[in-house]
Amino acid sequence: MTRTTRLVILLVAVLLLGGVGTGAVLYAAHRSGMRDQQQANGPTVRTGTVSLRPTADRRLLVRNLAWGPHRDEIATVPADDPQGPRTASGVKCLRFHAAAGTGICLQAVHGTLRDTYRAVVLDSHLHELHRFPAAGIPTRARVSPSGHLVAWTVFVSGDSYAGTNFSTRTAIVDTRTWKIDDNLETFRVIKDGRTYRAADTNIWGVTFADDTRFYATLATGGKTYLVRGDVGARTLTTLHRNVECPSLSPDGTRIAYKKRVKGASPDAPWRLYVLNLHTMKETATAEHRNIDDQALWADNSTLVYALPGDYGSDLWTVPADGTGTDRRLMTSAVAPAYLG
């Protein structure tokens, strides 16, 4: 082969491969353009005012995933009519939670070099009070019942070849002082009554009991633990094994969580369980599918959680005591929070 032949082959290949690549980009761009069109048979979404202030009627706030101009915005529906028309707020969040007039909104910031993320604390009018940079991809967010503390978890990935090492980073902010605990891994871990240190600790999924105590998941040595955290003492104490993404019931007696069950397929390992904190007795819920969400208590006896759906994700509900059956609450929604 002469030099010219080789250069011609290279040129043809560049054109051909460039064509394939451009085609793939154009196709994907067209497809994402479709998502801005109102979807057929989708829920009605209209613009309106969304407030986090407690009102007489109970409301459910979600990140709206229905196709159309309000996709990804925080929207509200009456708690007793979740399939009804949605009121969109104009505020876009990847993850969201709210309580007592305080909201936490985890957002992506699309830069030219890379995506960055931030955690934004919102007041009752969904106006920004304070923002914090976040180290990775948002996954969980919670506000304490009083609205004073907020917590979030992001995924951080190492930049090693093929970057398969993921870790989490969880932060807690006191909205009265704006003091931030950037990384809960710096808290003292008390495992089986003794101080425990490890490089591989990961903490995620904070759920608040009050303005001092919280629960979360601690992972180390390939195992997960339910830990009770103390913001003042800066400690994490292990309570129970095999608990991920805990969610404390409003009466503070039980933890809903995802449990890694034996015999499940490795790509669908989790089931929704409830742990009684007094008796440490575990109860399986009637939801038998794989759950990968931090469940939410609608009241002291009902759980709400997200499952993959046609437009990303749907919200489902199941009784917390193991009875009944699972039921779809609303389509095209994720990151729920009840207000009022």
């Binding site: 082969m1 991809i137 398969t164 090492n165 993921f166 490890a198 591989d200």
Partner: protein, 427 residues
């Protein structure tokens, strides 16, 4: 060293050493291999950059425990690397074929990513991708050694590593440009990455010669087919044995990048959002310094520079442990870390090339590289255990002390035979 250099230059009556003409220190083959690495790294780093986002946001999965297979991957990776080096030496130097297989295998994995929607399948595809990388590394380095005159190998490897790192820095930029243009079109990122990977293979096929005649003073007799025994028997050569032992010894005390960044963040109380920029800092200084330090290695001794590089790393550890914190301190550590890579990565390959005869270049590169990789993996396990036992700071202090001892031992081991002249080695 100066003597050895001038002797070999005199012995080689090559046209490009005539006065008035700049010697072609970096042959076309090395530039072609550098281009292949650059293109391939753009492709693979595109995937790396968006993979976490794809898993969490695209697929909606929790990726913890995703790295669980890393240990197995490391072990298999080491075996594949040895096999790649050995196979490449067999049958009259099939370096290009084996390297091509490796690049091809990785290219094949990119479209497969489009079909992987669960973590186990995704891990599998990534493992195959890594196998491709393991397979191609030793033959590629062997081709660089063979194509370059011995006295210029440091610079040649420096140029290759700089091109490689350039690709690694460009990949994420391309990936996010595609992601921006398509609004979360991860499939488009994988498709473009696949096209780029195919282009890399094509550049290899078209522009890297099938047989690379050793550049240098001595022409070899037609090589025999080295058997597995011969490849492993390379360790009987005192020079290669010393180099392998030292690379492994120093590898045992080299803290993995992720641990170092973790410590840097915790000790320096670095803002969380700056954390993802740490690897970019190291890569940038590696890129800047790879060529000058490679050239320096050719002039002074490669072994000495390799040792000096570890001295720089030791300084970096000291800085992490020191009370000096803040952004300037972090930047200083990244400069030292990047310098360490620039002074050791390509330089070790160049030193290895000088310690093995031409027909064993593949196996030689594989032995030293694998020894170093396995040692670093062992260090990671030990470091994690030490962190649990004491704490991160103490673990680093102990490792730093061990690195000082290792470096001292290595300087003693490497002292008696400073770089041999090419004539001695290839004879």
């Amino acid at each position: 060293m100066y003597l050895a250099d001038s002797r070999s230059t005199k012995a080689a009556v090559a046209p490009d050493t005539r006065p008035g003409r700049r010697p072609a220190a970096v042959p076309g083959t090395v530039l072609a291999l550098g281009a292949v690495s650059l293109i391939t790294d753009v492709s693979s780093e595109m995937v790396t950059a968006v993979l976490p986002l794809y898993v969490v946001a695209g697929l909606g999965l929790s990726p913890l425990g995703f790295g669980l297979l890393d240990g197995i991957n490391n072990g298999v990776g080491a075996l594949v690397r040895l096999a790649g080096g050995h196979l490449a030496d067999r049958g009259g130097r099939r370096h290009k074929v084996v390297a091509g297989l490796g690049y091809g295998l990785s290219a094949l994995c990119k479209p497969l990513l489009l079909l992987a929607h669960t973590l186990p399948v995704l891990s599998g595809v990534l493992a195959v991708d890594r196998t491709g990388k393991g397979l191609r590394t030793a033959p590629r380095d062997a081709m660089i050694s063979l194509a370059t005159r011995p006295e210029h190998r440091g610079r040649a490897f420096g140029v290759h590593r700089a091109m490689d790192t350039t690709g690694a820095l460009l990949g994420p930029l391309v990936a996010f440009a595609v992601l921006r243009a398509t609004v979360d079109g991860y499939d488009a990122v994988f498709a473009v990455s696949g096209c780029v990977a195919v282009l890399g293979v094509l550049v290899l096929v078209l522009f890297v010669p099938r047989r690379i005649e050793p550049a240098g003073a001595v022409q070899l007799p037609e090589p025999d087919r080295p058997a597995l025994r011969d490849s492993l028997g390379l360790l009987r050569r005192p020079e290669l044995r010393r180099l392998t032992v030292c690379a492994a010894l120093l590898g045992l005390t080299t803290v993995s990048d992720s641990f170092l960044y973790l410590l840097l963040q915790r000790e320096g109380d670095l803002r969380a959002d700056l954390f993802p920029l740490l690897p970019l800092g190291t890569a940038a200084f590696f890129l800047l310094l790879a060529v000058p330090l490679g050239a320096l290695a050719d002039r002074v001794s490669r072994r000495r520079l390799f040792l000096a590089g570890h001295g720089v790393l030791l300084l970096g550890y000291g800085l992490v442990l020191s009370p000096w914190h803040g952004i300037p301190a972090v930047v200083a550590v990244l400069v030292l870390h990047g310098t360490f890579y620039a002074a050791t990565d390509g330089v070790l390959a160049a030193a290895t090339a000088g310690a093995v005869p031409a027909q064993h270049q593949g196996a030689g590169q594989a032995l030293v590289g694998t020894g170093q990789a396995m040692a670093r993996f062992t260090c990671s396990l030990a470091f994690g255990a030490a962190w649990s036992l004491w704490d991160g700071r103490t673990a680093l202090a102990v490792t730093a002390a061990a690195l000082a001892v290792s470096a001292l031992a290595a300087s003693f081991v490497l002292r008696p035979a400073d770089e041999a002249s090419p004539a001695e080695v290839s004879a």
